[in-house]
Symmetry: none
DNA sequence: GATGAATGAGCCTTCATTCAT
DNA sequence: CATGAATGAAGGCTCATTCAT
């Protein structure tokens, strides 16, 4: 399995750095290879083509993303607690890896439609997780029984995404982790009382 | 003023169509010129370069956007009504112009960082409008006095944006205008009750 | 029509020279462009891709080839005379254009199967001409009534081709036009007396 | 001597199959190694480089070719009989090994000039054999005393080559061995009566 | 003002060959 | 002897922009 060989991660990590520092359109394969400390051709022993690097990058980092959040919320009782943990983890991960934040929020969105469709495939896992928390909350009575799960999921994901993108666009110059609480409260009240 | 000459709008309208139908990366200047019925070189009599077409496109269409919303909410009393009108108008405009929806939600996001920074400049007018409604609501007592206007604005814009993007990604196959009411209620409860 | 513009022929003529002097695999597009005195990109205003240059080259030069032979044999009475004129013209044309001889006999044969199939399409016109002369000769009684036209055509074309290739491989250091008579006599006796 | 080791022939036979099935330009060293059941690097223990594989391939198969024909014509009295046996054997060998026919008639001709010059070195043995038969025929009075041996050799080789190539290009869908007789008669009459 | 032919910089990918094991 | 992971040079093609007419 190529994914377990050290050079696989080495190249993906190099890609994150190069894209973050140079931008998507200036991230030539040769630049990624140099950053990874391998020859250009070596890239193609681990990835089918340049697009495959980017898809794999997203899968590795976001697969990881979903896993980490799942672990974190496992011990939580209420949907509200799970939601808080999710927002916190989401913000923490991207706050801890400024390069990754730039790549996911800005650079990777410049990719063509095909790549973005594949990225969306990966995102589906995350969106499902959000909807699951919302459904749990409805069942337990924490959230309004009339809550539209799909819309609420779009609100939650849209709000987190917009919050992170604004932070990245402002050169990450404030502490986004401090926004987790306030954002959580905002989202929570939206879910709890949508119909009074 | 070049902006008042017929070919100026002709080229911008052609750009919307070409980008929507071919995608950002397949929207060559020559294709836009052909669609607009002018020679390639003529483009450069009205726009500094290709990026300038896209910035102007966004300015024209989103300036229009902000104006229309301002007109619509002018007669509304409460912040809640203004918010509803804004969501409705936002959804209506994009619902009425499928090409524009594709361009703003998907294609234009593939542009490079510089272009997106300029697009954000244009968006600031819209974001200010949202923040103004929120401030009005706080002053009138409709919204919680502790509401973080900046965060709430990110929630509102992020939710609307995510909702429209999801709709476009699903090939606009359902009626997004019907979602204005539910989305409005969701956002409203977030603003009203964030601190209970 | 692009084919009538001066740069079309200019590029084809440049291709013949570059391929003859550098070999098929060393005939880069940039080298052809330089020889033609145009920019690399200009090539692609006249040809779809590199392969298209080579196909067009062959079509132009061999179309010309067939036309010239047709003109020459038009006034000839007997099949024998036509055959002689054909061999003479075939040898003369390639003798007059040493670069073209190298390209057709050696370099263009290194192309891939697809290109060669298209080259063969062009050659069919020539092969038909040979078969037509043979059929005329059978009808007039000059050639044996049992002559297998297809085989005889292969003999004629194979012999001429082999003769020219040998001459090119020997660096064109003897006069191939002097071989037209002897080759003609050789081929003629093959056609006249195949069954005695 | 490396040539006597089993892997030497193993690699050459693999090369014939790979080139015939994939074409000259798709016959990568790694593909040949895989077909031969050895590692890529092993190739270079038996051959200096890729070109050396192809030259050796031609030497082995065509050396064999000449030997077989020499054996076959050894017992024949007249030049006409020898010529017939040669054409028959030539056609039979290639008819019996469809892969080899594709490689010699189509694929190997795509090689560069250097390789083809070396291939011609190998072919000289065959061409000498043809000329020897022709000289014998002149001495015995079977062939015209004025026959140009060099030209006649080009006719004979050119005709056989063109006949086989046409057969391969037509996907070997007819029986080429049946053409040996007719081709022989055609060539023979060319040699016997070239000056009447 | 309008044209459109011409420009030319820039990059992903392949694959023959090497060499540490 | 044998392996196969790693190397790195090399080129066809696109398209935003210019400028002579």
């Amino acid at each position: 399995m190529k994914k377990n060989k050290p050079k696989y991660r080495q190249i993906i990590d190099a890609a994150v750095i190069v894209i973050a520092e140079n931008g998507y359109h200036q991230a030539q394969v040769s630049k990624i290879a140099k950053q990874a400390g391998v020859a250009d051709g070596t890239i193609y022993l681990y990835f089918k083509n340049k697009e495959d690097i980017l898809i794999s990058l997203f899968q590795e980092k976001m697969g990881n993303f979903v896993e980490m959040i799942e672990e974190k919320i496992a011990g939580k009782e209420t949907a509200a607690e799970k939601l808080l943990m999710m927002v916190e983890t989401h913000f923490n991960i991207l706050s801890d890896d400024p390069h990754l934040a730039i790549v996911t929020q800005l650079e990777l969105r410049q990719s063509n439609k095909d790549l973005r469709l594949k990225i969306n495939e990966v995102l589906k896992g995350y969106l499902s997780l959000v909807e699951q928390i919302l459904s749990n909350g409805k069942e337990s009575g924490e959230f309004s029984p009339t809550l539209d799960v799909r819309l609420a999921r779009q609100m939650i994901f849209g709000t987190m995404d917009e919050t992170v993108t604004t932070w990245v666009m402002n050169d990450q110059k404030y502490d986004i982790t401090e926004l987790a609480g306030p954002v959580h409260r905002l989202l929570l009240s939206g879910c709890q009382k949508q119909d009074n």
